[in-house]
Symmetry: none
Subunit: 412 residues, 2 copies
Amino acid sequence: MPVLVMKFGGTSVATLDRIKRAAKRVALEVAKGYDVIVIVSAMSGKTNELVGWVNETSPLYDAREYDAVVSSGENVTAGLMALTLQEMDIPARSWQGWQVPLITSSAHAAARIEDIPNDNINAKFAEGMRVAVVAGFQGISKEGRITTLGRGGSDTTAVAFAAAFDAERCDIYTDVDGVYTTDPRITDKARKLDKISFEEMLELASLGAKVLQTRSVELAMRYHVKLRVLSSFEEPSDNAGTLVCDEEEIMESNVVSGIAYSRDEAKMTLVSVEDRPGIAAAIFAPLSEAGVNVDMIIQNIGEDGLTDMTFSCPTDQVLRAQKALDAAKDSGALVFQELIADTNVAKVSAVGIGMRSQSGVAAKMFQTLSDEGINIKVIATSEIKISVLIDRKYMELAVQALHDAFELEKAS
Amino acid sequence: MPVLVMKFGGTSVATLDRIKRAAKRVALEVAKGYDVIVIVSAMSGKTNELVGWVNETSPLYDAREYDAVVSSGENVTAGLMALTLQEMDIPARSWQGWQVPLITSSAHAAARIEDIPNDNINAKFAEGMRVAVVAGFQGISKEGRITTLGRGGSDTTAVAFAAAFDAERCDIYTDVDGVYTTDPRITDKARKLDKISFEEMLELASLGAKVLQTRSVELAMRYHVKLRVLSSFEEPSDNAGTLVCDEEEIMESNVVSGIAYSRDEAKMTLVSVEDRPGIAAAIFAPLSEAGVNVDMIIQNIGEDGLTDMTFSCPTDQVLRAQKALDAAKDSGALVFQELIADTNVAKVSAVGIGMRSQSGVAAKMFQTLSDEGINIKVIATSEIKISVLIDRKYMELAVQALHDAFELEKAS
C-alpha cells in the first residue's frame, strides 16, 4: 500500500481532544488506502518545561542527559496517539526513536539523521498494522544513547521518514493553514500560496517565516519529498494548505512569492579597519570559530587605507561576536577603531524564483522603500532573494508597502 | 568497590530542590567509598497524570502503549538526577530500562523482571563512574517493547539491582521515616518499628500499608537483600528508618506487629450459583484470565443445590470482574442469578510472626471489633495474619481499637 507521512506539531497534540482530532485526520487517510506513518511532537509547552528544568539543574549541561530528558515529551504523545487510533479500531502502535531505530550522529542536542532502516515498521505494515506512530525529534547514537535533532526536529524526522519509506507525500500539520505571501498579522492582504518551491521555502524559513524547520526543507529538496503544510484546525480538504515542491511542478508564479522579515538581526559595524587583502578572513574566521552566524556583509569604500566593515548576525549572538572580535584585536590579528552594535534593526526580504528571469525587482523594491521614506542600511541579494536591513520601527510599513508593490494579494 | 542501591520515590524527587537534596545523600555514600546505583521514580504526580491521560484516551487500553507512555516520567527524573550529581562533580550518568537492559516478561503493565545483566554498568564503574542513575519501574521485553512493573515498581527495580550487583544494602527513601505499627494518620499511638521481618512486611505491604511494593519485599526475601526504608526528609543517620530483614535477625517482637488496612477492596457476591464440584474453578478461572486479583473467598453453605459465593478484589477491577463473569454466564460455563458488588467496604488486618506460637489472637480481634459494634462481613486468615472485611465507615475506629487492644504503642 502507498505510504503517507503525517506530522502533528505541538499545538496539534496539545490536549487529548486535539490528539483525537488529529487521529480523525489519520483515519481519513487510512480509509483512502494509505499505510500511514504519524510523526508527533510533544504536547505544546512540554519541551519548554523540560528544557527549563535541565537549564536550572545544570547551566552547562551534559547534552547526553539533556537529550534523555527532553525526548520524553514525544514518547508520551506517541503512545497516546496510538491508543487513540486503536480506540477508532485502526491497528496502530507507537515507536520511540531507538525502537525504529532512527540512527543519528552523536552530536547530542543537534544530531544529524544517518539512517532509518525501514524493515521493522514495514514488517508490521505487512502484518496488517495501518499506522506507525513515531516519536519525533529523537534518535539513537551508535553508542546507544538517546539523541535529539534540535528544536523543530520533528519536521526533519517526518521528511526523513517520507524519504526512507518512499512516501507519496509528507503532510505537516501545524497551527497555520499554509505558507503566506507574508505574515497575515502584518497585513490582511497576505494571501495563502497553493504551491511554493523548495528554494523559496528555504529562503522564507531561514529568513524567519517559521513555518518549517530549515533542515526539513533541505532534506525534502534533496530527496524530492512532496511536503504539504496545513492546519490541523481546518476542515480536511484535498486542496488544503500549501504544497512545497520542486520548481518544475509550479506552472506559474509571481515574480516575487513572498515578503519575509526578521526582528532578530543585529547590525554590527567595525569602524576603521585596515583596507588590505585578507582583512575579511581576519574578521570572519574568529566569528565563525565563535559560532556566530554572519548573514549579510558589506564593505564600505576605503579611504587612507582604512575602511568600515558591516555585517549582520542574530541579536542573541552579539555578545559572542563582540568577545570574538575583541580577542582578535587583543591578539594583534585585527586592527579596528571600534565596534558598533545596532540591535534596533530589522531585515525585510523579497523572495521569488521569478527573479531569476525578471529584472527590475531590486529597483522596484528600493523605490518602494524610498517612497515611504525608509532608509536602507544594508543590502544583500541572492538569485531568488533581496534582503535589506532597515530601522526596526519601519519594519511593518516596509512589509506592507512591498506586499502592495509586488501585488502579492493577487494570484498569478 | 562495594555497591549500594538507593531508591528515591516520587515525593523525594518532586522538585529540582528535592532532587538536589537526594543527590546530597548520594554524595555522602559516594564519599564513604560506595559505587552507588540510584533508582528514581517519576516526580510525584507525573505518573498519575500520565495514567489519567491513558485511561481517558482508552479505558481498555493496549498495555504496551500504556507502558510506553507512563514510563516517560522516570526518564525525566533519571536525567535530572544525573545532571545534578554531575554539577556536584560526581561522575554519573542516567540509564533507561532498555539501556541497562532490564529484561522483563511481556506481561505489560505488570511485567516480571527476568534478567539484569550487570556488564554495561560495571564497565562504567570500572572507568570511574561513581553513580549509575537508573529509571525505575521500567524494562524491555524480548520483543523490544517497553514494559513497566506495575505501580510502585521502582521498589522492585531497586531490590532487583541490589541482587544483581550483590549490593551491601538497598535503601528505599520515601516520605515516611519507616514502617509503623499502623498508619500514624489514623492513630497518634502508632510507633515506628526498628526492624521487621520480610514475612510481616509482605503481609503489611499486600494489605495496603503502602510503604513498599509487595514484590520488592518478596524479591528481597528470596535474595536476602537487606532493605532499609527511610525518609529523605530527615537528617541522615546510620540508625534511621526501619530495616526489613530475615526473621532470625530480629531478637524479640510483639505477637502482633502491626495493623494494616485497605480501602481499595470491593466485596463481590455471586448469588445462587450451582453448588457442585468444579464450580470454584468455573468462577475463578475466568477472573484470573481477566487479570482480576481475587483476595478473600468465602462460600456460603448451600441449599437446594445452590449457594452464594463471596470474594474480594481491588475496587478498580470490579468492572473487569463483572465483564468476565457475565461472559462466562453467556457462554453457559457458569450459572448464577446475580452479581452484587459492594464497594463500600474496607479490609483491616492484624499481622505478626508471633501469631505462629501464640493462640487467641483471632478471638481477641473479633471480641475487640464486637465491643465496638462493628460487624464482620468476611474473614480470612494466614499463619501470620488475620483479615476482616467491614463497613468502610468503621475502618478508622477498627484500626484504633485493635492498635490499643494489642498494645502496639509499647515496644516488646
